[in-house]
């Protein structure tokens, strides 16, 4: 092509003064693809463009293609990059097939849109991060989630390391797309620059880049490929260090941009807060477990061929303990004849919840200390009374002591009540008897009285100790009715000949169903049963019978 651009342009400018100085790049191209007009602004973008010259080779490919399409009839505006900048090209068609392309720069808008998209994405990720991290208060689980999320959103692989023992740390690691591994790892934090400080939370350190080649072997996942970058970020907890996050990227990935580092810090703050909350919860649970262990009702077993079974439900669903309690102390006393007598205890401390439970702990410990005198119930209760007498407080406990011994196939009981509800006995015939064991409540009056009653259980017979949570249960099908002693007698009558576990379960269930969804007091039942022999007849008759 002949280079005559300047001349022609001059003539064009004469035709239309506005084109030359238009603030937008303008290029006019004929149907054959030859440039007819190119203004100053366009020449800045397409320095090679010349009037009469071909559009191809001097204008960007996307514009050339758009021009061809336009000539073919598709008259869309298009957009594309010119160098680092981006433009929208608006076609204006002439009569002779010439198209004038007006170019409008949209670099800023595009960048802003891109930034907005990224920001939205990150907000969504942070939202997901927060909700997933906050679901579990289990420290291990929390670390796993943090490692998985970090590997998914921040890096090709991630390590979450929690402060641990001397040389042994809980870690969670995850390679993007893979499963999280949680283990305890004996590593030296000094192997990784910045890790020791991050785990100690002191001195405060920023995220730290480390030289991939200096990374210890354990840090590099198997078959990971060449590492491009590694960054160690402390996980700040609630005033205590929660651990460290180590992110690894492969060489083919870009290194972390400044933006991504900011994002990683936001992530670390959330992960750290969640992990330290989980750790505090775990510590609290472990302390509570330890303190609670002695307050929880014990698991009961057969002792000397005598069945013991208990059921317990505290008044408050949020508590695990309350003011009711029971215990069975096997072989508390050896009688003169060499027979052993176990001591079963069931009682009720006036009050509810943890406060009452603490007093049950005191009562149970005291009774345990008094076991050597379990042969003398009255003496035992007097000493317990003395131990609990308190001039400030009228909180009291009612309790039943039952010394239980096996004599042949029978079970012999000595029962004494310290102001408690009378024990009940169900005979194999279904007859229910109240045991006449009376006495004073414990812990208020300086002097107490107590009488001991003796009962013999034939095989299949049960003695039931229970608290007022059963008899005073409010509810029933019509609501607002007290369960009462009569109903308890009837329920027990239906339990004739049953094993202790079934009796305790049945009584507990009937009372609980009576209560339904209503509020209730602590509930405790303890069944003591003489086991049936091998060859006994069927359990009662058949049919519910109403």
């Amino acid at each position: 092509m002949v280079k005559t651009s300047r001349v022609v342009r001059q003539s064009d400018v004469q035709q239309d003064v506005g084109w030359r100085s238009a603030p937008y790049p303008v290029v006019s191209v004929d149907a054959a693809g030859a440039v007819r007009v190119v203004n100053e602004a366009a020449l800045v973008l397409f320095p090679g463009a010349a009037v009469g010259g071909s559009m191809a080779g001097t204008c960007p490919g996307w514009l050339v293609e758009a021009h061809e399409r336009h000539t073919g009839g598709t008259r869309d505006r298009v957009s594309g990059l010119i160098g680092e900048r981006s433009f929208e090209a608006h076609p204006v068609g002439g009569d002779d097939g010439t198209v004038t392309w007006w170019l409008v720069e949209d670099t800023d808008t595009r960048l802003a849109r891109e930034a907005l998209r990224l920001e939205r994405e990150r907000t969504a990720v942070l939202g997901e991060v927060s909700s997933r991290l906050l679901t579990s208060l289990n420290p291990e689980r929390c670390m796993q989630v943090a490692a998985e999320l970090a590997a998914g959103h921040l890096a090709d692989a991630a390590w979450v390391i929690a402060p641990g023992g001397r040389r042994d740390f809980p870690v969670a690691r995850c390679v993007r797309g893979g499963d999280v591994v949680h283990e305890r790892l004996a590593v030296d934090p000094d192997d990784v620059a910045g890790l020791a400080e991050a785990l100690q939370g002191f001195p405060p350190v920023p995220s730290r880049w480390i030289e991939p080649s200096s990374a210890p072997g354990w840090l590099v996942p198997e078959e990971f490929g060449e590492i491009g970058s590694i960054v160690v970020t402390p996980l700040p907890g609630h005033g205590v260090p929660a651990g460290a996050l180590i992110l690894l990227r492969r060489t083919e990935q870009r290194a972390f941009s400044e933006d991504e580092e900011v994002f990683a810090r936001l992530f670390a703050a959330r992960a750290g807060a969640a992990m330290s909350a989980a750790r505090m919860f775990a510590q609290q649970v472990s302390i509570t477990e330890t303190l609670m262990r002695d307050l929880l009702p014990p698991k009961l077993h057969q002792v000397d061929g005598i069945e013991f079974a208990g059921r317990y439900r505290p008044a408050l669903d949020t508590e695990r303990v309350g003011g009711d309690f029971y215990d069975v102390h096997p072989a508390a006393v050896t009688t003169g004849a060499g027979a052993v007598e176990s001591l079963a205890v069931l009682g009720d401390v006036c009050g509810k919840g943890l406060e009452a439970a603490v007093l049950t702990g005191k009562v149970r410990t005291t009774l345990q200390a008094l076991l050597p005198m379990a042969s003398d119930h009255r003496r035992m209760l007097e000493l317990l009374n003395n131990a609990l007498l308190d001039s400030h407080d009228t909180r009291f406990v009612t309790v039943v002591l039952a010394s239980v011994a096996r004599v042949g196939s029978e079970v012999r009981l000595r029962l004494t009540s310290g102001g408690h509800l009378p024990p009940l006995v169900v005979r194999t015939t279904g007859e229910v008897q109240e045991v006449p064991a009376h006495g004073t409540l414990i812990g208020v009056l300086p002097e107490i009285e107590a009488t001991t009653a003796e009962v013999v259980l034939a095989p299949g017979e049960t003695c039931l100790l229970y608290t007022d949570g059963i008899t005073e249960a409010m509810g029933g099908p019509l609501g607002g009715e007290m369960f009462g002693e009569e109903r308890l007698h009837a329920v027990l009558a239906s339990c004739a000949g049953m094993p202790a576990d079934a009796v305790a379960e049945h009584v507990h269930m009937v009372a609980s169903q009576w209560i339904g969804g209503g509020s209730h007091d602590d509930i405790a039942v303890l069944a003591i049963t003489a086991p049936r022999g091998r060859h006994l007849t069927a359990v009662g008759g058949h049919g519910r019978g109403a």
């Binding site: 989980a278 086991p531 009662g540």
Partner: protein
């Protein structure tokens, strides 16, 4: 395969023998049956599920058919529990190498044995199992989940009236990041209620529950699953109203029956209690069916209750008038009205034309 068939036959024979021991309360014989079965080569899982499990299902069926009292059911269950303990004491369990599973019952559930059986099966398969049993309030379960971080909760429920509680429990477990496998009769024969309430998996029995967990871990729940998303119909408050006023509804129905059937006045205390209890069950099941918005739940219960009343010798003819009273009390609640109308139609059809007293009065 032949071996499988023989094992199943053996298990069936053993189950029959165990049933005979359990139903007469002979713990020693029950123990012998199970230890013999185990000693003669029946694998432990099969003893648990095809012998003990089969007997327990039969216990449930006999109770439902009114051939066992609740107390007898408890006696049988207690023996089965002990038999499981004996078996667990003699069986060898592998070192836990799979995952950790929490097994619990819906709070208010009294049938713990299926959950117990599943626990033992999971232990046999190499899971680490925390068996929490029945009567576990949701707050305890959730604390347990946080402190132990299991891979899944297996939740067992047999009573449909506990479905609202089951729903709350499922949601709470998932909110704590733990997926829930649901099982048991409460969730419907095809598990439809389990899906409706958002459970991550439903298993028809212990073996398929164990199979599913053995196959691969359940995916962790993601996102915040809100209970109301499962059951948008709860917005009409019908469930809330019926469950809150259940005492009043039972009372209203009871007095209406008294007015209609003078012989009720001569009922004994225990008969009156049973009648009130039957009405309370009707209201409970009505509430549950409103909760999950499935009339079939209520209609199914009603058909069963009609049979039971028959078996007990109590005339079921008080059902239609009781349903009438409830419908009148709940006239402002379209869903309740609809299901009560269907129930009324069903019960009059089953009972034939409502007529005056039959010769046989209420059973003693």
């Amino acid at each position: 395969m032949t071996t499988t068939t023989r094992e199943t036959l053996d298990a069936r024979t053993c189950a029959q023998r165990l049933w005979e021991a359990v139903v007469v309360g002979d713990e020693h014989a029950a123990r012998d049956v199970v230890l013999t079965a185990s000693g003669e080569g029946l694998d432990t899982e099969s003893v648990l599920l095809d012998v003990i499990g089969a007997v327990q299902r039969r216990v449930g069926a006999e109770w439902a058919a009114n051939r066992l009292t609740v107390a007898q059911e408890h006696a049988a269950t207690a023996i089965n529990e002990r038999v499981i303990a004996t078996l667990a004491g003699t069986a060898t369990f592998p070192e836990p190498h799979r995952g950790r599973i929490t097994v619990a019952c819906v709070d208010g559930e009294w049938h713990a044995l299926p959950a117990r059986l599943l626990s033992e099966v999971l232990r046999l398969r190499g899971f680490r199992v925390d068996y929490l049993g029945a009567q576990v309030p949701a707050p305890h379960l959730i604390t347990h989940l946080h402190s132990t971080g299991p891979d899944a909760v297996a939740l067992s429920g047999s009573i449909a009236t506990r479905l609202p509680t089951a729903h709350a429990t499922i949601t709470a477990c998932q909110a704590a990041g733990v997926p829930v496998l649901a099982g048991g009769g409460a969730f419907g024969p095809d598990g439809r209620y389990a899906r409706l309430l958002g459970a991550d998996f439903w298993a028809p029995d212990a073996r398929s529950a164990a199979d599913r967990l053995t196959e691969a871990p359940l995916p962790r729940p993601r996102g915040t699953h809100q209970p109301i998303d499962d059951l948008p119909h709860l917005g009409d408050q019908e469930y809330t109203m019926v469950s809150r006023t259940s005492g009043q509804l039972v009372k209203a129905a009871y007095s209406a029956l008294e007015a209609r059937f003078p012989e009720l006045a001569s009922y004994s205390e225990s008969q009156r209690h049973h009648t009130a209890q039957d009405l309370a069950h009707i209201v409970d099941f009505l509430a549950a069916s409103l909760y999950i918005d499935d009339d079939a739940l209520f209609l199914g219960f009603l058909a069963w209750t009609t049979d039971i009343l028959g078996a007990r010798g109590v005339p079921a003819r008080f059902l239609p008038p009781a349903l009438d009273v409830l419908a009148a009390e709940l006239r402002d609640f379209p869903r309740a009205k609809r299901v009560l109308a269907r129930a009324h139609e069903l019960s009059t059809r089953t009972l034939g034309v409502e007529g005056p007293d039959h010769d046989h009065g209420p059973a003693a």
